[in-house]
């Protein structure tokens, strides 16, 4: 018998697992695959919390601004490699080099150093997949007209076999290399060489404020890599990347490690086939293992299956359904609108809950399952793309579920 079983291993599910484990609970997380953090940039967005908290039925309105703030503080204490200031935006670079505002960022991604840069050097790793140095350069020139921008190409012995056959190197593999012992030694060398070359030129040009932009690098959660970077004489700014993203993956790995260190167990690779209920209480989930099904019993459950894209909501031409408990869904009357990147009402599809995150019937407001809490993307009445609050909703609801297990 577990104290809590969390179905879904993304940001909200893992955070709920960590919080509950910290409170001494025995927690099992069951996750169909690696979750969607691998597709995310690794930054955490909150959106306009005060405004959204005033929006009827929005998760922020249910949870309250204070609780969202508390969960942000909790996340930051848990992971000091992230930085942010409540109510103020940070800035990061998109994979194409344009700026993007967000709530909390891994320190290395914070692009504030670019604001008063006079000279920007864009590191250009040979053959990196989904990396377009000329586009990035053009964007940097446009946004930072005060600075000169140059591209600094380099190649690594480690990937010579890739270059030789013309195969692109995944950004993830570059990032993994930099985080290895050998990679740290190589990056020190590389940046010191750059510093020397700059110094030679600088004698002529006079001292100017230099910032290095380094795609395919993730220093967060690696103390030795961060130390190595702190020793170079200029700030190094990382970039977000297209999926699969090393920065999102690093956050995923870190959340998993934290959860495991606290004694939690993570079952990845299989979902929940069905559940067993007694009245308004769930007591068991059944997982399709190889050969036969395995049953796991618990006192409390969390539904963190990630909405439509996570597989938690299945949409067919005939109907939409929640895949684990068969809970009723809020479905907007109008689904889509013509403007592709504009508001799409289907984004607000999800499960309506009470203030304790328990699923409720939309008419009577009656709680449907007493010991099940719904978190993250499964909640109804919010739109991560329009409202930029995906990280905040996941952290706040995950934290609260972790408190309640």
């Amino acid at each position: 018998m577990w104290d809590g079983i969390i179905v879904g291993g993304g940001l909200a599910g893992l955070l709920a697992g960590i919080r509950a484990s910290e409170r001494g609970k025995r927690i099992l997380i069951i996750s169909e695959g690696v979750g969607s953090l691998t597709y995310s940039s690794g930054v955490v967005d909150f959106g306009d919390v005060r405004r959204l908290a005033g929006q009827e039925k929005h998760p922020y309105a249910l949870l309250g601004e204070t609780l969202v703030h508390t969960s942000a503080d909790y996340f930051q204490v848990l992971f000091p490699d992230y930085e942010g200031e409540w109510g103020r935006n940070q800035e990061v670079l998109t994979p194409l080099g344009s700026p993007r505002r967000c709530g909390m960022v891994p320190k290395g991604l914070n692009a504030k150093a670019l604001r008063d840069a006079q000279r920007i050097v864009l590191m250009a790793p040979e053959g990196m997949k989904d990396f377009f140095p000329e586009v990035i350069k053009a964007n940097l020139v446009k946004i930072h007209p005060q600075a000169s921008v140059e591209v600094y190409p380099f190649r690594l012995e480690r990937f010579e076999p890739w270059y030789a056959i013309g195969k692109p190197v995944m950004g993830m593999d570059y990032a993994k290399f930099w985080r290895s012992d050998l990679g740290i030694a190589v990056i020190k060398d590389l940046l010191n060489r750059l510093a020397q070359e700059i110094n030679t030129v600088q004698r002529i040009a006079g001292s100017e404020k230099l910032v290095v932009v380094f795609p395919g690098l993730v220093a967060g959660f690696s103390a030795s890599l961060r130390n190595a970077l702190s020793e170079v004489p200029f700030p190094v700014v990382e970039m977000t990347s297209f999926p699969p993203s090393a920065c999102g993956q690093t956050l995923y790995e870190t959340l998993k490690r934290k959860f495991r260190v606290l004694g939690g167990e993570l079952l990845v690779g299989t979902g929940v086939k069905r559940v067993e209920l007694q009245g308004k209480v769930c007591h068991k989930v059944i997982v399709p293992s190889k050969g036969r099904d395995t049953e796991f019993s618990a006192r409390s459950f969390v539904l963190a299956t990630g909405g439509i894209f996570g597989g938690g909501i299945e949409v067919t031409p005939d109907a939409s359904r929640e895949t684990v408990f068969g809970l009723p869904l809020f479905i907007p009357s109008e689904w889509t609108r013509a403007e592709f990147l504009g508001e799409q009402p289907y984004a607000r599809m999800g499960i309506e809950v009470d203030r304790d995150l328990r699923p409720i019937a939309s008419g009577s407001q009656e709680v449907i399952l007493e010991n099940v809490r719904v978190v993250g993307r499964m909640l109804a009445h919010w739109d991560p793309w329009l409202e930029h609050c995906g990280g905040g909703v996941s952290l706040a609801s995950g934290w609260l579920a972790g408190e309640k297990i």
């Binding site: 018998m1 099992l28 169909e32 695959g33 690696v34 979750g35 969607s36 691998t38 597709y39 990937f159 076999p161 890739w162 056959i165 195969k167 995944m170 993830m172 593999d173 993994k176 290895s180 012992d181 999926p243 699969p244 993956q249 998993k256 490690r257 495991r260 260190v261 004694g263 167990e265 993570l266 079952l267 990845v268 690779g269 299989t270 979902g271 997982v287 399709p288 293992s289 190889k290 050969g291 036969r292 395995t294 996570g310 597989g311």
Partner: protein, 412 residues
């Protein structure tokens, strides 16, 4: 369900997100392997149209199944690759594979025959295998890497009492697997002791190799023949509802995933009745039937979950169970594949690859021990044990040995 139908349906579940390739331990270190997405679901579309891929690409898949565990959409990626490999084999596509490598596959696929030979006079075999000249000869003649951590042979683990399924008290059938049978009989004895300590009569028929090494070297027909032989030995017990237990995670995965697909008596029951040792013991614990008068075992362990345990979808029952023992501390490392992947890392041209694949794990093991996080390593898989010990120099044993200490029993 019609297999062709199923195959198409499963293929469409792939949304091309590349999460599998990003996690693939082989693609990360070997550029000529296009990765699971490309040789799995991508190439499958062509295969459905009758276009076969150069099978060299397929052969670099180590069958660790990380891609299948990773996939958020449940696509059977490894299964697609293995089937394509079988097809290539049947159609005689040899992609210029040398006679030497064909012969090596013949040898490495037959852990059982090697074991039988090796255990006739184990000390002699080990002495011969220990001679570096011999290993360099093997590298040149067989293509078996000279540095590869071939496990030592030990006196053979013997079959135990036939039992009588009709008059069952509390019986279990134990499937030891080749590693225990030929290289590590004492762990086999420990498994038997732990089960006996919990009141079970343990039956060990003279099983054959489970078939995984045959499958990995492309001998699918022989693999299924082994499965049929083993099922014939198990069938009377299966019919009498006797559970089958294995402490090897690769044998366990084969028994759970491959055996039910074989046309033979017992195939319809095996999936339901086979248990990993710790899965079985945890079930006893949950029903209040496990003996839990544990002595303190003051030890701090690093735990490595074998890939083929992860693929079973049962979690990590050994970690759960060991944590019931007073003073046992377990660090679940989660540092990926050890690289050996059965016999993958024994092959001369793949030895370095296997070591590179395992490197993140080895570094984490070494760092963990150096920083005092844990003292020794534990993992269920014999291959992983050998490889972790080889790559990190840290002692690595099956978790059943901690349970033996907690029960205060020995194999004598």
């Amino acid at each position: 369900m019609d297999f062709e139908q199923d195959r198409v349906k499963n293929l469409d579940a792939c949304i091309k997100c590349s999460a599998c390739t990003a996690q693939c331990p082989v693609a990360a270190v070997y550029p000529l392997f296009p990765g699971p997405k490309s040789v799995g679901p991508d190439a499958e579309r062509f295969r459905l149209e009758g276009l076969e891929l150069d099978s060299k690409c397929l052969n670099y898949c180590s069958n660790c199944k990380t891609c299948e565990v990773t996939c958020p959409s449940g696509v059977k990626i490894t299964e697609m690759i293995l089937r394509a490999r079988e097809k290539a084999q049947q159609t005689g596509q040899k992609d210029g594979e040398t006679i030497q490598h064909q012969f090596r596959d013949l040898v490495l696929g037959r852990a059982e025959y090697l074991g039988k030979l090796g255990t006739i006079w184990p000390s002699m075999t080990n002495a011969v295998l220990g001679i570096s000249l011999m290993r360099s000869l093997m590298e040149r003649t067989l293509g078996i890497g000279r540095q590869a951590p071939l496990p030592a042979y030990k006196p053979k683990f013997k079959a135990l009492g036939a039992g009588n399924p009709a008059t069952a008290r509390k019986q279990v059938v134990y499937f030891p697997g080749c590693f225990v049978t030929y290289n590590d009989a004492s762990t086999g004895k420990a498994v038997v002791k732990v089960l006996e300590h919990n009141g079970f009569d343990v039956i060990v028929p003279s099983f054959h190799c489970c078939g995984v090494p045959l499958q990995a070297t492309g001998h699918f027909r022989e693999e299924r023949a082994n499965a049929r032989k083993n099922l014939a030995l198990m069938d009377p017990y299966l019919q009498a509802n006797v559970p089958v237990i294995t402490a090897c995670t690769s044998c366990g995965l084969a028994l759970k995933e491959e055996y039910p697909k074989v046309e033979a008596l017992g195939a319809e029951r095996i999936g339901r009745q086979v248990y990993d040792l710790f899965e079985f013991l945890w079930g006893l614990h949950e029903r209040g039937e496990l003996r839990e008068e544990f002595q303190e075992v003051s030890v701090s362990l690093g735990y490595h979950a074998p890939c083929h345990l992860k693929a079973q979808g049962i979690g990590t029952p050994a970690v759960r169970l060991l944590r019931l023992i007073p003073e046992v501390r377990v660090n679940d490392l989660d540092a990926g594949c050890c690289g050996l992947s059965g016999s993958f890392g024994f092959k001369q041209e793949r030895y370095d690859l296997a070591m590179q694949i395992g490197n993140p794990l080895f570094s984490q093991v070494k760092r963990g021990v150096a920083e005092g996080d844990f003292e020794t390593m534990t993992t269920e898989c014999g291959g992983c044990q050998v490889q972790i010990q080889h790559g990190s120099g840290i002692k690595t044993e099956h978790p059943v040995w901690i349970l033996m200490q907690a029960y205060g029993i020995t194999t004598e």
